[in-house]
Amino acid sequence: MSVAHSVEHSPVKSETVGQVERDRLRMMMLIRRFEERTYQEYTKPGQRIGGFCHLYSGQEAVAVGIAALYQKEKDYLINGYRDHGHSLALGMEARPAMAELFGRATGCSKGKGGSMHYFQAEVGNIGGHGIVGGQIPLGTGAAFSCWYKKTGGVCFTLFGDGAINQGTFNEALNLASLWKLPCIYIVENNHMAMGTQVDRSSAERDLAKRGSGFNMPFRNVDGNDVDVVIEEFGKAVDRARRGEGPSYLVANTYRFRGHSMSDAMKYRTKEELERARQRDPITIYDKRLRERGFIDDAWVESTESEVRSIVDDAVKFADASPHPDLSELYTDILSENYPLQK
C-alpha cells in the first residue's frame, strides 16, 4: 500500500510493475557508488578534490524517498552541506556533480561552490549550504513563495541533528506554523554532529519532541526504509499541499563514513558500525524488492556495473574538464550592471 501511495505521489510514470521501485533502489546504489568513489578520489595521492567533503553513504533512503514525493515543476529542496545524495536523487547528472567536487567549470555550480554548495535551479534544488542552520530560513522562504503564489508546491527543508540547536530552528518553525507555510522540516538524524552524539547536544534526546512546541505535527520516522520515508513524509506533504501548514519530521538514520574526510571516528565502535550495517537502507530495500519479485541477482549485478560506469565516466569527465577561467572570479556576483536605471 505504501507502493500505491508512493506511486500516487511519484512523478515517475511506471510502464511495468516494480519499475518505480527498481528506479529507487538504483538511485540509492548510484548515490552510494558516487560517495564511495568520491571517498577514494579524495583520499588518494595527488588528491584532486579539496575542501570540506561530507558523504551521504547510509542515509540514501531519505533523499530517494523525498525524490519519490517531489514534484519538479513546483517543489523546492534545500539542504545543508551533506548534499550530494539529494542532488543526484532530484536528477542531477553524475558528471556536473563530480565536476563540482573537482572545482571545474563544468560543475553544477561552475566550480565556485564545491561539495557543500550544489545547486540546480531548474529542478528547484536551491542548494547545499555550509552554515549549520543557515538554510532553514531560506527553505522557509521558498515555502513562502509557494504559499504566496498558491502553486501547491512545498519546500523540503533538510538539516542535521546538530542544526536543531541553532536559533534559526526556533524562529523558522514558529513562523512557518503561524503562517501555515508548506514547509516540510526534515531532520536527518544520523545521531552525530561531527563528533558529538545527540545525547551530548540535545537536552531532549527524542528529537521529535524538539518540534513539539510549534503547533505542527512532529514525529520520528525510520530513515533507513525508503517505503516508510515515502509513506510518512507523504502524509506531511499532502497536508502541506492542502494548505494545512508545515510538519516536522525526524528521519533516524546513520552515516557510514566520518563527518568529513578528516574525521578519524574515534567516537565509533566496530560493534556500532556492524549494527548499523544490518540496517543499511540499500540492503533493506534490496531484500524487499527480491521478496516482491521485482529484482534478482542479475538485475543487481547489471545495475551495480551500470552505476559503477556512470560514476567512472563522471570522474573521467570531471578530470578532463577545464578549471574555470580566472575571469570567472568576477562573474556571478551581481545580476545587474551599475549604474542601474530601471
Partner: protein
C-alpha cells in the same frame, strides 16, 4: 509638486511598486495592523491585505532568510527592519546568504530583495539601538547599499531598489521620517550607483549621505560667508560607489572632507577616503579629512550623544583645517 514627508515618499514607492508588480510584498515587525512602528507602512495592510503585508514575530533571522529564500524563488520581498540595529541578530542571513547565494550557485539564482529600515543614531536610544551599519554591509561583494537624504531621492531610489535584481540594503533614518520635500506623484526612478551634487562649489568637496547631507549643506552656507565655496556630494549609493563623480569634484576642489556618522576606524569614511587616495593622490592639496563619531558606544545622555556625533561646527572646523585657514 506636492510636499510630503519622507515616510510618505517611502510609502508611495512601496505602494506603487506593489501595484505594478504582484510579486512585490512587504513583511516585518508591526508593518501591518500597527501600521508600522514609525508609520512608514500606514494603510498598506488595509490596501493590500494580509497576504502582501505581513506582520512577523520578532524573528529577524527567520524573516530575513525568508526574504532571501523567497527572492531566490521568484518573489521580490521588501523586508522592514524596525531598526537596522536589529539586523545584527540576523547578520549571517545577510552577510552570507543574501550576498553569496548567487556566486556559490554559479549564477543560477538572483536575489531581488530589499531590506529597509532606520539606520544610525536617533534620539537617546542607547548603544545597542543606534548602530550605523553602512560599513558592515557596504564592504560585502554581492550586496548593494543605498541611503537617501531627501524624500524625493527616497522614493526614486526605493523604487529602483525594488526593481533591482540584487539584494539591496536600504538605509533610512528615523530622524528624517518627518522631513518634508517635493515629491512627484506617480512613477519615477533614480539610478542606483549615481551620486548627486546637492550643492556646487569650488574650494572643497564635502562627501556625505543620509542625515549628514543636511549638516553639510548648513556648513556650506556658513562657509560661504567666509568665502569658502563647498561642493556637497550626496553619495546616495554607498556600494557601488560613484567614484567618477567624486573624482570630477576633487579634480576641481583638490580638497575633501568625508562626513560619517559612524565610528572612524575601518568605517565607511575610511573606505571612501582610501579610494580617493588610491585614485586621486596627486590631485590632493591636503589630506582627505574625515568628520566621524567619537570612538565610543553611543551614550544615553543626550548631551553626550550629541557631543559624540558630527556637527555643523565640526565640519566647518575640519574644512578650515584642511584649507589651512
Amino acid at each position: 509638486m506636492p510636499e510630503i514627508q519622507f515616510r510618505e515618499a517611502l510609502r508611495q514607492a512601496m505602494t506603487e511598486e506593489m501595484e505594478r508588480d504582484e510579486n512585490v510584498m512587504l513583511m516585518g515587525e508591526e508593518v501591518g495592523e500597527y501600521n508600522g512602528a514609525y508609520k512608514v507602512s500606514e494603510g498598506m495592510l488595509a490596501k493590500f491585505g494580509p497576504r502582501r503585508v505581513l506582520d512577523t514575530p520578532i524573528s529577524e533571522s527567520a524573516f530575513s532568510g525568508i526574504g532571501v529564500g523567497a527572492a531566490m524563488c521568484g518573489l521580490r520581498p521588501i523586508v522592514e527592519f524596525m531598526s537596522w540595529s536589529f539586523s545584527l541578530v540576523a547578520f549571517d542571513q545577510l552577510y552570507n546568504n543574501a550576498a553569496n547565494v548567487r556566486y556559490m550557485s554559479g549564477g543560477q539564482f538572483k536575489v531581488p530583495v530589499v531590506f529597509r529600515g532606520g539606520n544610525g543614531i536617533a534620539h537617546q536610544l542607547g548603544a545597542t539601538h543606534s548602530h550605523r551599519v553602512e560599513a558592515l554591509y557596504s564592504r560585502v561583494p554581492g550586496l548593494v547599499v543605498v541611503s537617501p537624504s531627501t524624500p524625493y531621492d527616497a522614493k526614486g531610489l526605493l523604487k529602483s531598489s525594488i526593481r533591482c535584481d540584487d539584494p539591496v540594503m536600504f538605509l533610512e533614518s528615523e530622524l528624517m521620517l518627518n522631513d518634508r520635500g517635493e515629491v512627484p506623484e506617480g512613477d519615477y526612478t533614480i539610478p542606483l550607483g549615481v551620486a548627486d551634487i546637492k550643492r556646487a562649489g569650488d574650494d572643497v568637496t564635502l562627501i556625505c549621505w543620509s542625515k549628514c547631507v543636511k549638516m553639510c549643506l548648513k556648513a556650506a552656507e556658513e562657509l560661504e560667508k567666509h568665502d569658502v565655496s563647498a561642493e556637497v556630494i550626496d553619495l546616495r549609493t554607498l556600494r557601488p560607489l560613484d567614484m567618477p563623480m567624486i573624482a570630477e569634484s576633487i579634480r576641481k576642489t583638490h580638497r575633501c572632507v568625508v562626513v560619517d556618522e559612524d565610528w572612524g576606524y575601518c568605517g565607511m569614511g575610511d573606505g571612501i577616503r582610501a579610494k580617493i587616495y588610491d585614485e586621486l593622490f596627486d590631485e590632493l592639496d591636503a589630506p582627505v579629512a574625515r568628520v566621524s563619531s567619537e570612538e565610543v558606544p553611543v551614550p544615553f545622555n543626550h548631551h553626550l550623544e550629541l557631543a559624540m556625533q558630527p556637527s555643523v561646527e565640526k565640519v566647518i572646523a575640519k574644512v578650515n583645517e584642511i584649507c589651512y585657514r
